[in-house]
């Protein structure tokens, strides 16, 4: 598993807790701000743990079921830790027409299925529905940077380079 700080441990009194608290107080602890608060929480902690969701539910005075319901409804929120690297394959129409399926097959074969992380924690694979760079199709976002007009061969070479088996 990749190394992540454990937000579950209540003793971890770092700045992140303060930032999250500030985000909630900025919205006057209103339940309507749940999505904004979850955005902030994920930005701070990388992903949303059950403990984190419970804390948010308590502070915003919402039933935990509602918080979990919202967190699982939206693709953006992740309830699992992310890998060391991430690849987001655009599977929008332009990229599909340009062959994104071939890229996805390579990643599924060598790393993990879309929406999950490889067992060694090296790579998280995600699918996105159009990243707005259709002129560069097929496009992949690799650790936040766009790889334009990617071919399966180039993708394989990149995976080799970072040591994915």
């Amino acid at each position: 598993m990749p190394v992540v700080t454990k937000p579950d441990v209540p003793a971890v009194k770092d700045n992140r807790e303060r930032f999250l608290e500030r985000a909630m107080s900025r919205h006057h602890y209103s339940g309507d701000a749940l999505i904004e608060v979850l955005h902030t929480a994920q930005e701070l902690y990388g992903f949303l743990t059950p403990a984190l969701l419970k804390t948010i539910a308590r502070k915003l005075r919402l039933p935990p079921s509602r918080v979990l319901g919202v967190a699982t409804f939206y693709h953006f929120f992740s309830l699992e830790p992310k890998g060391e690297h991430s690849m987001i394959v655009c599977t929008g129409t332009a990229c599909y027409v340009a062959g994104a399926q071939g890229l996805m097959r390579v990643l599924e074969h060598r790393c993990a299925k879309a929406g999950s992380t490889s067992p060694d924690g090296k790579m998280s694979v995600q699918a996105a529905r159009c990243i707005g760079s259709c002129g560069l199709a097929p496009a992949v976002i690799y650790d936040g940077k766009i790889l334009p007009r990617l071919t399966p061969d180039q993708l394989n070479a990149e995976l080799d380079r970072i040591g994915v088996k």
Partner: protein
Amino acid sequence: MTFEDLLEQQAKEIARQQGLRERIYCCTAAGCVSSGADAIKKAIDEEIKARGVGAEVECCGTGCMGLCSKGPLVRTQSDGTIYAAVTPEDAGALVAGQGANLLADRKLDPQADFFIKQEKIVLANSGTVDPERLSDYIAAGGYQALARAVMELTPQQVIEEVKRSGLRGRGGAGYSTGLKWELVAKQPVDTKYVVCNADEGDPGAFMDRSILEGDPHRVLEGMAIAGYAVGAQQGYIYVRGEYGLAIQRLQAAIKQAERERLLGSRIFEDNFQFRIDLRIGAGAFVCGEETALIASIEGKRGQPRQRPPYPPESGLWGKPTLLNNVETFGNIAPIVAKGGDWFATIGTPTSKGTKVFALAGKIENTGLIEVPMGTSLRTIVFEIGGGIPEGRAFKAAQTGGPSGGCIPPQFLDIPVDYESLHKIGSIMGSGGLIVMDDTSCMVDVARFFMDFCMDESCGKCIPCRAGTVQMHDILQRITKGEANENDVALLEQLAKLLRETSLCGLGQTAPNPVMSTLNYFSGEYEAHIRDHRCPAGHCVLPAAASSNREVQA
């Protein structure tokens, strides 16, 4: 700020810009950034510094210049030339004013069809103003429409102007914008909201993103005018979470406008007040649907609800809510500034104005274009778009995304407007236009969109939740050569069911790509089912027992 202040700022900024020897515009929209625009802008800035010419040469970032496939693009203001495929090494030539000589081979021809066949209203500022500087927008006449509305017109007159323009919503359905505004204005309630739908979920569409990145103040001004017209004091922009740069630019633009009192309280010293806040989406296509979007702003799961009541009567927190698309708001300031009659001269009798399209797929010039309504598909694909690369044949154009259809070659000459597209089984949609050549399998295209709808169905109503799965299953079997003749009839039955019984537009329109490909490309379905053959050579099928045709990989 008063109207006089606004005019004074405009004159000052124009004079300042004219005093420069050169203003170099680097396209810093998403497309060019991913092909290295940031490094170019940095190189030019450094070059200006190194040569000590900061007083006469200025470099600024702009929104999308349109021709994304030739990026990164740079434009020099003195002669209006756009250079393609610029590299950081070109900085010296550009700053020295030697672009025309040294980069002559990469000059784009301003008389090319790509430029002269377009007409820009919404994108007029995209590529010519720095979206991060309010003074650039003011120099281009920005916020004068808001001033005119607040100081000279009554709310009812603003609505009349919008009605006269004939503007229809650009988010897909094409409902009359003026009528919608009137509906909200008529509600006898004090608290009302204006919401801008910037969720742009259609995969293969990036118009709204480009507008927000290239000219954010235009959208803010349109929303403020709407707020004045319908009597709202609070606006929200619901932006897709994936659009980081757009979010950043909007945040900056809102701050600037508030500082100059163009948003906030006592706008133009009048009693009108209007604030705008952002709400960031979290990745759910269905949140583009208006009632789902409203639920999402309220912090809930983005699930649509039964309409009526429609949002103009009961929307955000149960209050009357005006909800329009980004491009719709982008048209408002020009309409109020130049008059509805002017706008109504552009386009066709039922579809006025222009439409922004994102061209993508198998087309030479991928990028962002704006054409008068009624322009033919042929002009868009072959003249502006430059045709199909590698000498391949045009097979279909897909508009309307997962709610739209595939338009075959025999309809290339139809005028692109709401009615004509609807008649041939597609829709205008938000403006994604994806061109396919003979390597695309139309059955697999239908499967692709059904996969999308299945994935994005919110699960609230059964026809959509279960129906999309069943339809996808059949389509997948066809592409794998495992289907039989009855499956097509079953597809048609399911399509009817989804259309008639789904709760929201997602399910109601999900069968459209299937039905349009069945209509126009039935031969391909038959080839897969009967001969286990994919005419486009895309699907991998096992050889049919009854035929010894060669299987194509």
